[in-house]
């Protein structure tokens, strides 16, 4: 199999999949080439991501990457989430084939956008 067991597990059993109503932050990222897309929703409490949900469209790795991203983001400080890199997501999936690297990029990008959105709104609320 060109995909790791971890990736396949996340693809088959995505964690935290689905819409979040009235999130504290939301962000999306699309990969130009193939239209793969991930969207991440954050519920923030005490500056941390208390709940994370995702939606994704695309090949298996993109769905799995969004799933593992939502899992890894949960409980972390929103400021930190801005800096989660694609490499971290890729590592969390136990690797990605060369031609599927974009899956991690899309998921990390969506997380960053959601975190920035949350920080923005907090800033705006003050």
């Amino acid at each position: 199999m060109r995909y790791s067991a971890t990736l396949l597990d996340h693809f088959l059993h995505p964690r935290h999949a689905g819409l979040m109503r009235e999130p504290d932050g939301v962000g999306s990222e699309e990969f130009e080439g193939c239209g793969d897309l991930a969207r991440i929703f954050l519920r923030v409490r005490d500056g941390r991501a208390d709940e994370v949900r995702f939606q994704a469209y695309g090949c298996g790795p993109t769905i799995a990457a969004a799933s593992v991203t939502s899992e890894r983001a949960t409980g972390r400080r929103v400021e930190d989430l801005v800096n989660v890199k694609a490499e971290e997501i890729e590592a969390a999936l136990d690797g990605l084939p060369e031609d599927r690297r974009h899956a991690a990029t899309v998921a990390a990008g969506a997380l960053r956008a959601a975190a920035l959105d949350a920080l923005d709104r907090r800033g705006g609320a003050r």
């Binding site: 693809f11 995505p14 999949a17 689905g18 999306s28 080439g33 193939c34 793969d36 090949c59 031609d99």
Partner: protein, 385 residues
């Protein structure tokens, strides 16, 4: 995974046990080179001749009109370049839904100074014979239209095109890789001059195929070397492969008719099962003029590859209609040519059934597809493809 279900017979098929049994001696004791004049060579030559005779009888043609090649791709290259290079210049007619072996060969010939017309198809993937007629020019040197499309299974009106080709005295090549040994094919009645056919799509081995060349068709060799295959294709003959192809054809001659009926029923059962339970699906290709075992289905709002992956994890093999390579997606050029909208085309999956496919297999695939598509659609962000 315990039981595996294979619904990708248009990609390749397992070698029939009887075919393998007939091939085996030619790896071992009967390993001679057919060009050798001693006993080992004659044994091999006799086996090659016998296979050629079998195929010729099946096609209703002369044995010396058949040339063995290494695959459907080579047969297509040979037919088209062989026609073109025999004439040195001119114009070719083909369609936008041909296999890459035809399209890229024609594109290469374009780069060498030949002119090529790539005909459009209708929403069923069908070429209009009138378009062929209109495309013919004074310098048209060949027409290449496939018998049935490997992705959607649409069967082209080759008889009408053959009649036009004959009227205009233009050689007519038909890529029959997906139909040879699956549905009846009368090269004489259809007015065909060159026919590509292959082993591994019909329970024969990979690495062997053939090109039938009507006697009198001006064609030059494209692989140069020794004087094999009546100087039409140089290279030591793949004897076990040829023996296997011959046997595969014999088996197909017996099984073909009954199997086609059975596969049409199973294919319809699959489509009926899916459309009854999955919203926003469409069946691509022609409703009746279609390969018995082929059902190409678009699942809107999901990406082909994730369905293939999801089914694969359940032990079910199907084929993605769109291919994502190196991060750039390519919706099937066949579906695009048929005018399938991109948001549908992205979710195309080809299910191709074969001789061992059962009703239970089909039902299990339906059971697998339904929740998978539901889940994938549920995870999808609103407003996306």
């Amino acid at each position: 995974m315990s039981r595996r279900i294979y619904l990708d017979h248009n990609a390749s098929t397992p070698v029939h046990p009887e075919v393998l049994a007939e091939m085996l001696p030619y790896f071992g004791e009967r390993f001679g080179n057919p060009s050798s004049i001693h006993g080992f060579g004659r044994e091999a030559r006799a086996a090659v001749d016998a296979a050629r005779d079998r195929i010729a009888r099946f096609l209703g043609v002369r044995a010396d009109e058949i040339v063995f090649t290494s695959g459907g791709t080579e047969s297509d290259n040979f037919a088209i370049k062989g026609l073109a290079q025999a004439r040195g210049g001119g114009h070719l007619i083909t369609s936008r839904v041909e296999h890459h072996a035809v399209i890229r060969t024609c594109q290469w010939l374009e780069s060498q100074g030949f002119a090529v017309t790539f005909l459009d198809v209708d929403e069923h993937g069908m070429v209009d014979p009138d378009d062929v007629k209109r495309a013919i020019r004074g310098d048209t040197i060949g027409i290449s239209i496939m018998h049935a499309n490997s992705e959607v299974g649409t069967i082209q009106p080759v008889a009408a095109i053959g009649a036009i080709a004959r009227d205009h005295g233009v050689p007519f090549h038909v890529d029959a890789v997906q139909t040879f040994g699956k549905i009846p094919l009368d090269v004489q009645a259809l007015g065909i001059d060159l026919l590509s056919f292959s082993g591994h799509k019909i329970y024969g081995p990979k690495g062997i195929a053939g090109l039938w060349i009507r006697k009198g068709t001006k064609l030059v060799a494209v692989q140069h070397g020794g004087e094999h295959e009546r100087r039409r294709r140089a290279g030591t003959e793949n004897v076990p492969g040829i023996v296997g192809l011959g046997k595969a054809v014999e088996v197909r001659a017996q099984e073909m008719a009954g199997e086609a009926v059975r596969l049409v029923a199973l294919r319809d059962r699959l489509w009926d099962g899916i459309r009854a339970r999955v919203p926003e699906v469409r069946l691509n290709g022609h409703s009746t003029a279609r390969l018995p075992g082929t059902a190409n289905i678009c699942y809107r709002h999901v990406e082909s590859e994730s369905i293939v992956l999801g089914l694969d994890l359940k032990g079910i093999a199907v084929s993605a209609g769109s291919a994502c390579t190196s991060g750039s997606i390519e919706p099937s050029y066949v579906l695009v040519a048929m005018g399938v909208p991109v948001d549908w085309a992205m979710g195309a999956v080809r299910h191709s059934l074969g001789r061992t496919t059962t009703a239970e297999d089909v039902d299990e695939v339906v059971e697998g597809v339904v929740p998978l598509v539901e889940k994938l659609r549920a995870a999808r962000p609103a407003g996306v493809a």
